[in-house]
Amino acid sequence: MIPAGFEYHRPTDTASAISILQEHGDDARVIAGGHSLIPMMKLRMADLAHVIDLQDIQEMKGIEIGADSVTLGAMVTQHELITHDGLAAAVPIIREAALQIADPQVRYMGTVGGNVANGDPGNDMPGLMQCLDASFELVGPDGTRTVAARDFYEAAYFTAREDEEILTRIMIPVPAAETGQAYEKQKRKIGDYATAAAAVMVGGGSASVAMTNLADTPVWSEEASAALAGGDVEGCVAAMLDAIDPVADNRGPVEFKKHVAAVMLRRAIARAMSRAG
């Protein structure tokens, strides 16, 4: 559990970070909170000659609450997501979901940017961001572009981000006031990734439904969302069960995961509906 040797860089602005990435190509990786990357390095599953720490880059920090949109700097920690009252008022599901991530120690370090950029199907934020229809700002050598969360995930650990790009900000449309939101997660213990988790927004004739750790990417289902928007809960669940593709692992066999997925989704829907205006 000792990582191979690496060189440590600590730039103070995004442009310098990108130029270090450009210089070292495949051998370099950015590090945010380190709570996904460092375990991989200790297991020697990630062998990196250069680690670029983003924590001194001020422009990647901070939470901005606008009338229509919330912007999260990539380096905002999960702990900050929980403690920010303005954010909790604008998009309450973020606090609810962040409280379900790992434990306080991990949340003090882990960042929202790292969580969504990582591409681990076990991470909770990607599904949540798809549910919220968030978009990610990516800055690279060729400039800045924006990718919708729903288009970002390609396969486990593969995303639309190019190697030399950095995810700098997350933009989230503020849900309509009458929207009810809920995040429901089953896990084996505190500090565990989801056996199954559901993010649900519903109200005012629209709905959005996404699930976590039930395929090699987060699963947002247009069909399931449409069914729920039309008030058809069972149709929503059925569509979602069609969309997920869980695999057997220590958390259980496929039939179990499908069953639990449906249970989590129904519970999240019920809770979100009870909160809808």
């Binding site: 559990m1 191979a4 084996r188 213990k189 259980g252 066999p253 179990f256």
Partner: protein, 805 residues
């Protein structure tokens, strides 16, 4: 002088002796981060060792190429079996009479097995060098199922080929280790044949791991000038390790000093001898420098001693009214690639023959077959006396299974079969003499405390509500009455590697009336420095706060067999009392001399000897201590010290009644412990607070084991649960509140009547949790389902019973 103004009760209280919830003296350093663990030891020029381990569970090692590793700057040596062979150290004896490869000798038998040992100037270089050692393997067929292994043509232990006789008798197959039989086979079969009711079940206690907070490690330091080897390590039995090191290395035993510093939990994991110790010693001898080796978490879970993995096939016979008439058990024991169980020599399946439990079962038979598979070796007593958790789980499941068959309440079934208080000392059908107990009293107290009748009513209502679609949660009431067997043990039948399992204590009283005591045991969190001082305080009347306790240094402590199997209090605790009594006997003579009366004319009074009939004429222990060093007393040597080596006449038999009330979500398999009641009878209670702490810790480990913790393998022999993400350790969040309670039935043969408690909560806890899960589903037809009861397995029970509609 305040001595006269205080009542005897006040004087006794000042001693903080037995019965006092004295705060743990160890915690001052532990809570300040000032403990001194093996990995805290730093020595000049210290090198670091690290292992190249096998990724395969069964493979031939075709070649090991060290070149690239040796070329890395800072790498000092790379050892393989070839390097150890000339010293005869490429294999080592196990505690179970088998032998085990230190480094892979031509093949590997489990994933994570040690293949090469890299020595480097720091641990980062060592880790890099491990990656550079090129090993060529040729994969062999893998056997992970002991039943398959006994049928397979695949020979795991080629080194034993043709050997039909093992350390414990005949071997029936090339993957068979031993058969151990106890009891009356024919008699039991006859009872089963003629019984009114027989219940039969396979009870599996899955493989798990003690997983102490601190992993295993050592620092070996050979001083080439003095010829003396100092070995610091995470040893639960430092003296035994010294003897083993001497026997296998050829170094004279007086030239070896073994030191166990602070130990961050053992739970059986740190009893055995591991390749890391041997390689570090060799590396230090070869390099002349201190060599440190510390396991990481994955190495600890994958390669150092596991626990359990017993397939227990049971049959239990009874009358229609529920009186048990016979018990039969055949166990298939998966020992992994080498038989490295830590059991007393004559007990290859430990004390599994305590499996008649708390019940008066007239006829019984037990057979255990040990089997080799492609899994890690071990088989240690994880927070229990040797195989006692397995035995307790087996009988407590069989009782439940029988209750189902009889359509009886399981609490009542237990009650009518308990050994009665007037039957002690009780001779069990499988050969033990239970020293003392009062099971009915404990049981009634427990049932009353939890409101058992009401719980059953609530459960019945819950079942109705469930059937009516009003709830998706079931209620389980898990009952357990366990009997432990601890304090190994009498030298006449208990030894490890030929070393009798006595233990020891040496006490020296200083002139000013304070003292130091040294024991052959070693605390790993049990609080010996606190409790053993309390025994001495009560025995000789000096305050516990004035008594230093030292363990773990073989150069200073008297020989003892160490701490595991709840043996410290029953054996070393007895030695402590006996040594203290020797001191008191001498003190009596000194007091009589000082008071100018005959020895028989003084009597003991809490902290002093007083003249009989004249309590105002006395000498306190403090005064006596000084006199021992400044008076020329005719016929008495100066000084005041004593040593006792205690060979216990019998084991002790702690017992308890545990009840768990659990809510189970049928749809997700999630569970919640609503109530957990633990009544322990450990005989005389030395420190109630420490007992309570031990119970909390032990029940929490039991919760882990029953509800999720396992070492699981896939069919290729890969460890699936090698990190703490998958290996379940409960956090404060999952851990329920416990209600502790007690009765006191002292051991009649122990000097202070104490029985030991550290392991009872694990022994009793596991069946209590498991029985709660089973009990929740009993109304729907569940009879038996294997642990661990994690979410998906509970879900599967519900699914199999058709509860998902």
């Amino acid at each position: 002088m305040n001595d006269q103004s205080m009542t005897p009760e006040e004087r006794a209280a000042n001693l903080k002796g037995m019965g006092c919830s004295r705060k743990r003296v160890e915690d001052v350093r532990f809570t300040q981060g000032k403990g001194n663990y093996v990995d805290d030891i730093k020595m000049d020029g210290m090198l670091f060792g690290d292992f190249v381990r096998s990724p395969y569970a069964h493979a031939r090692v075709v070649s090991v190429n060290k070149e690239a590793a040796l070329a890395l700057p800072g790498v000092v040596a790379v050892l393989t079996a070839e390097d150890l062979a000339p010293l005869g150290l490429h294999w080592m004896p196990t505690l179970a009479g088998d032998k085990q490869m230190v480094l892979a000798d031509g093949k590997v038998l489990f994933q994570g097995q040690e293949v090469a040992y890299v020595v480097a100037e720091d641990r980062y270089i060592a880790a890099d060098a491990v990656d550079l050692v090129e090993v060529e393997y040729e994969e062999l067929p893998v056997l992970t199922d002991p039943f398959e292994a006994l049928k397979s043509d695949v020979v795991l232990r080629e080194d034993l080929e043709g050997q039909t006789e093992g350390a414990h008798g005949p071997r029936k197959h090339h993957n068979h280790i031993f058969t151990w039989e106890v009891g009356d086979k024919d008699g039991t079969e006859a009872v089963l044949g003629g019984a009114e009711v027989v219940a039969e079940e396979m009870v599996y206690y899955h493989r798990t791991h003690p997983c102490p907070l601190e992993t295993c490690g050592c620092v070996a330091s050979m001083d080439k000038v003095t010829g003396k080897l100092t070995l610091y390590g995470t040893f639960q039995a430092p003296h035994a390790i010294r003897t083993v090191v001497s026997l296998i290395s050829g170094l004279a035993e007086h030239n070896i000093r073994v030191i166990s510093p602070d130990i961050g939990g053992g739970f059986g994991n740190k009893v055995g001898a591991y390749p890391g110790y041997v390689c570090s010693v060799v590396a230090s001898i070869v390099t002349g420098k201190p060599v440190k080796w510390i396991e990481d978490r994955m190495e600890n879970l994958m390669s150092t001693a596991f626990a359990r993995d017993y397939w227990m096939h049971g049959k239990i016979a009874a009358t229609k009214e529920g009186k048990i008439t016979g018990l039969w058990c055949h166990t298939t024991a998966d020992h992994g690639g080498f038989d490295a169980c830590a059991d007393p020599t004559k007990f290859p399946a430990g004390f599994m023959n305590i499996c008649t439990g708390s019940y008066d079962i007239p006829t019984a038979y037990l057979a255990v077959d040990g089997v080799y598979t492609n899994k890690a070796p071990g088989g240690v007593a994880y927070r229990c006396s040797f195989r006692v958790t397995e035995a307790a789980y087996f009988i407590e499941r069989m009782i439940e299974v029988l209750a189902i068959k009889l359509n009886m309440d399981a609490a009542e079934l237990r009650r009518i079969n308990f050994i009665r208080a007037d039957q002690f000392p009780y001779q069990s059908a499988l050969g033990w003499e239970y020293d003392s107990g009062d099971y009915h009293t404990a049981w009634d107290k427990a049932l009353k405390a939890v409101g058992y009748e009401d719980l059953r009513k609530e459960q019945a209502q819950r079942v109705e509500d469930f059937k009516a679609g009003k709830t998706r949660k079931l209620l389980g009431i898990g009952l357990t009455h366990f009997t432990e067997i601890v304090g190994a043990g009498p030298v006449k039948n208990c030894d490890i590697l030929g070393l009798g399992m006595f233990d020891s204590c040496e006490i020296r009283i200083h002139p000013t009336g304070s003292a130091i005591a040294r024991l052959g045991t070693i605390s790993q969190g049990q609080g010996h420095a606190t409790t053993f001082a309390q025994i001495i305080a009560s025995e000789i009347g000096l305050p516990a706060d004035d008594i230093t306790l030292e363990e773990g240094d073989t150069d200073t402590a008297p020989y003892g067999l160490g701490t595991y199997g709840s043996r410290s209090t029953p054996v070393a605790g007895a030695a402590t009392a006996m040594a203290a009594r020797k001191i008191r006997a001498k003190a009596q003579m000194i007091a009589a001399y000082l008071l100018e009366v005959h020895d028989d004319d003084v009597e003991w009074d809490v902290d002093r000897f007083a003249v009989k009939g004249a309590p105002e004429r006395f000498k306190t222990m403090k005064e006596i201590a000084f006199a021992a060093y400044n008076q020329a007393i005719p016929g008495l040597e100066p000084g005041l010290e004593a040593v006792s080596y205690y060979d216990p006449p019998n084991m002790t038999y702690p017992f308890g009644a545990y009840i768990c009330v659990m809510e189970i979500d049928v749809d997700t398999g999630e569970w919640e412990i609503r109530q957990f009641y633990a009544l322990d009878d450990c005989g005389t209670r030395i420190n109630p607070m420490i007992i309570e702490g031990q119970v909390h810790g032990g029940v929490t480990e039991a919760l882990a084991i029953a509800m999720g913790q396992e070492i699981a393998y896939d069919e290729m022999g890969n460890v699936k649960t090698g990190t703490l993400m998958d290996f379940f350790i409960p956090t404060a969040w999952e851990t329920p509140n416990y209600t502790t309670d007690h009765t006191v039935t002292p051991s009649p043969h122990h000097p202070i009547g104490a029985k030991g408690v550290g392991e009872s909560p694990n022994v009793g806890g596991v069946p209590a949790f498991s029985n709660a899960v089973h009990d929740a589903f009993r109304p729907f037809g569940l009879v038996q389902s294997h642990m661990p009861h994690d979410h998906w397995r509970i879900w599967k029970i519900a699914n199999g019973l058709g509860l998902h509609g």
